[in-house]
Symmetry: C2
Subunit: 598 residues, 2 copies
């Protein structure tokens, strides 16, 4: 028999919380929390994505939001049991607010709340048409002149953006825009996705030809339509491109490919955007209430300026423009993160002489090690077999407060360093400059803090270690000549190709280009946690800046990230947009302040 | 606590069966069966699709096949329990043969086997790459000149059928060909699907514009990639067309659209087909070992010959060619099954004056009633919610022997007749000639026996009942004039459109056209059970003639049916083809005799 004691303790706590909250007794509720508590709320109480850290912040939030939110019916989630491990009792929970149904996760320490995650599942009266509520498709009965599904789709495509305005425009039709678009379609929010490439998936197809996803399939599912069980672990880029294309089609998205978004401005009075896009050679003016920038972290290539770039006679381009390894004899790749490694390896495979220029330390993890030690408990075939669902994995991950997430990560990377000690030694011996993150917390924290600085090794590191890929580290580029790259240590590298694998500019910069510097400055830096580590300056923010939540610019949103984030956070962004469309009050608690411009 | 007694009884029986079979003791095994027993085998013992009816047939089969098959390890399937209802103990079971793993279902009556279903799950050593065994996608490590996924796909597309021959050619790229092609791809059987329409899904897109599937979504899933939970209950034709197109793409099928299959012949000596197809304006000669005709039951329109068809000045076409209701004023639709009703309703909706000519009785069932009383226990949202999977539903359905299936069906249709008594009265009052099948066993038996003779009512019957669709029943067409149809009772129906909703010719006829009359005659009639009812002459066959199993023509197979059958039987056909490709002995037990030519 299962030990039911954790259930009892959890239920007692939830009953006490329910009673305190429904009675408006903030102090009594706060008393149920540990001193070092964390309450992460995704849209249910705060209409924001926000972590309350410590009892004082919990108290402040409740004082501001309890009366409006009217939470009730806190209980262990249907069909779930609480469990106890190392003195921590945890459980899936459910609850309601006045306008929504919520799902969450709670951890108790010494009988009090240590971590609490509250997320919005659906808005009451605006549930998605799934399962029992799916559409009929055929309309039984008969009526004169009714339209077929195809005629309705064609009419919508002809009208939306022309005779009828979308409520929402998403700029960028990669996985982020597509996942959000799919959810908004289910919520019946009229939306147009604007994408400069012709077809969905092209942003993947156009990358260097050897590219495969570095994240495994279990981490990459889109909403509604998971990959089948025969899908490869690491999708080749063209295959994920095909998947995105068919997904946009069967999910009936209004996807405007080959369309350039030229200019956007917000009218504070009409509370409406004017978005000018070029489609089929003509300017089209869109007037949405909400504008989502889903251009991702790879929208603005970051190209350094070196003396002599204008006289170099070979090919030179940013990694995002790299067509593939064919036809080059002597290549220099500036940079040492994912793209740099992949491109170096592909060039070597194609027979080129290739040198990687490593300008600063890089965090390298073997893909196998990352999968097995970093991801397997939540995202792996083992996890699937043991009953873990994608939705639960996402929520467990979301339940770990950013403030202490690195504490969970450091032991993982320590274990990886131990397991792969020989490997790291060989890389160092080859001159490669390694790091493991400022506080040794590894890859995922680097991703959340700065979105760069690492390579998930799928084979290139061996080529670096054995000298097949030549390495110049701890140097920078001094200048280019007609046929070579000169480094700061005086080395001259003959080259018919220079690849700048030098990363991307911030999404804030994209907002500046599209809207205005003024609005971009008002909104401030996008991404990062304020961890006070390299490229992620403090003060501490508690959540990723400006992502998936209200910004200082009304009606402007940022969406994106990897496939996991595109899937998970599109749920909460779509609910925020839907609530606004339906006129449900959405008072934002704790709108972030701006500490950095870009 | 669950009552474990059924488990014990089932396990005892399985142990006894295991012991008798592994000891080669046929009589002892036969003793474990009821007198009125049924053993339905899908490919595991018989390399055939065959039901043994009664102990004698069980004995004969075991005598012939036991030594080769070497079955073992009979047990209640992992994670399952036996259950008991009304004295019948039933359970999911698993077992092995020398070359395969099997899954099945068993019902015990009075301690002995009443029904036994044995199906092949996979061939040992040739398992599909799913779950833990899925492909990596990215090839970690580095090697010179390796090909990307895209390059490999492009190379395969360029070579297969030209410099390299497919093992299997499937003629017909509807749901049948696509589902089978997907399974063969997973089993690594080189296959080309030849389809005359340009794109996958066109066979649906090109039908009359109001068409929606008459079967509900839970019944229609394709292998590997089920429809998402927001998919409509009854897919509109263009939406299912889009789904099939994307499915063929992401499943990486070698799909030759816009390709006509002109001629096929079999060389008994080389045991190889010569299949001539026209692709891109050029003849291509394919040399597969296996040829699958998956043209479906709707490949050869059945157009009656009436006097005056040559002088009629309006439009006239078969229902499969009907473009849609627009532009017609006075329409006559010959026929009274699904297509006739749908087309009549669409014409009425578009404002036409339309008359249905009902030449013989028709079985009509309201869609709601069919869903709720006929399908809900296996294929419905309720079934999903209560844990029923598509695979299990298919197997439960497969576990009911055809010989007694009508006994399970008659009460369903009796209940429907009672529930909808008023409705049927109103239809009869309007002159509509009803039947419920020869033995009142309803729609599904009609489908299995003759594939025709019914309408699943999604709205047109109301129009017939209230006279909106005019009805002439119990008459036939005498002749056409320039501007009218004259019926045998002398009625003249002015018309600018005549639709022949007169069904389809047999798949045997398609084989005659493509291969030869001689081969078609050797193979005999396709479809039907030999139930000795209208359009399904005896003698009793026990299984559907020639479908998904070996025929009298080596290397020739028939595949198709509705989405349920395309999904379910493609598993067993793909395993038969794979076994042959791998040289696994496949001695066919009980190859059917030919009693009818078409």
């Amino acid at each position: 028999m299962l030990d039911k004691a954790p259930d009892g303790k959890m239920s007692d706590l939830l009953n006490a919380l329910d009673k305190a909250l429904s009675g408006g007794e903030v102090e009594r509720a706060v008393d149920l929390f540990q001193t070092d508590c964390y309450w992460r709320d995704l849209v249910t109480f705060t209409w924001n994505i926000k972590t309350m850290e410590g009892k004082e912040q919990v108290r402040d939030m409740l004082k501001a939001r309890l009366a409006d939110t009217k939470p009730s019916n806190w209980k262990i989630a249907e069909g779930e049991d609480a469990s106890e491990t190392d003195g921590i009792i945890e459980s899936w929970i459910q609850f309601e607010t006045e306008v929504a149904r919520g799902f969450g996760h709670m951890r108790l320490k010494d009988g009090r709340i240590w971590t609490l995650l509250t997320t919005m599942s659906e808005l009451k009266g605006h549930e998605e048409p799934l399962g029992f509520d799916r559409p009929m498709g055929a309309k039984h009965g008969a009526e004169r002149n009714r339209k077929t599904w195809k005629e309705e789709r064609e009419a919508e495509a002809a009208e939306l953006g022309y005779s009828r305005q979308p409520y929402c425009v998403i700029v960028g039709g990669g996985q982020g825009g597509i996942a959000l678009g799919a959810r908004l379609r289910q919520l019946n929010v009229p939306t147009i996705i604007v994408e400069k490439n012709e077809r969905p998936g092209d942003s993947w197809r156009k990358r260097y030809k050897s590219l495969c996803l570095h994240d495994p399939v279990w981490y990459d599912h889109l909403p509604y339509l998971p990959f089948p069980r025969n899908w490869p672990v690491f999708s080749p880029k063209d295959k994920i491109g095909d998947w995105l294309e068919m997904y946009a089609k069967v999910m009936e998205l209004n996807y405007w490919g080959a369309t350039e978004c030229k200019k956007a401005s917000y009218d504070q009075k009409s509370r409406e955007w004017t978005v000018i896009v070029q489609r089929d050679g003509k300017d089209v003016v869109l007037k949405p209430k909400q504008l989502v920038l889903a251009t991702g972290m790879s929208a603005k290539p970051n190209i350094p300026k070196f003396e002599g770039m204008d006289i170099f006679k070979g090919d030179q381009h940013h990694s995002s423009q790299h067509p593939g390894p064919d036809k080059y004899k002597k290549a220099v790749v500036i940079g040492s993160n994912n793209s740099a490694h992949d491109i170096c390896a592909a060039l070597w495979e194609a027979g080129a002489d290739v040198t990687m220029v490593q300008r600063s330390t890089t965090h390298v993890v073997k893909s196998d090690s990352l999968m097995e030690l970093g991801l397997a408990s939540l995202y792996s075939e083992q996890a699937v077999q043991s009953g873990m669902t994608t939705a639960k994995a996402d929520l467990i991950f979301a339940s770990l407060p950013y403030k202490i997430l690195h504490e969970f990560q450091i032991p993982v990377y320590n274990a990886i360093r131990e397991r792969d000690a020989d490997y790291y030694k060989r890389l160092e011996k080859a001159g490669f400059l390694l790091d493991y993150g400022d506080d040794d917390s590894g890859l995922f924290m680097k991703y959340l803090r700065r979105g760069s600085g690492y390579y998930i090794d799928v084979g290139a590191s061996e080529l670096v270690a054995n000298g097949s890929i030549k390495l110049k580290s701890g140097v920078d580029v001094k200048k280019l000549t007609e046929h070579s790259v000169i480094l700061t240590d005086g080395t001259e590298l003959p080259a018919d190709l220079v690849v700048y694998a030098t990363g991307y500019g911030s999404m804030n910069g994209f907002a500046a280009d599209l809207i205005s510097r003024e609005v971009a400055d008002k909104v401030g830096k996008v991404w990062g946690l304020g961890s006070n580590t390299i490229k992620d300056p403090g003060p501490w923010e508690g959540e990723q800046r400006n992502m998936w939540k209200p910004t200082q610019q009304e009606g402007l949103w940022f969406h994106g990230g990897n496939l996991h984030q595109s899937r998970h956070y599109s749920q909460f962004l779509s609910l925020q947009l839907k609530a606004r469309m339906e006129g449900i009050p959405t008072p934002v608690y704790g709108l972030q302040k701006v500490h950095h411009l870009s």
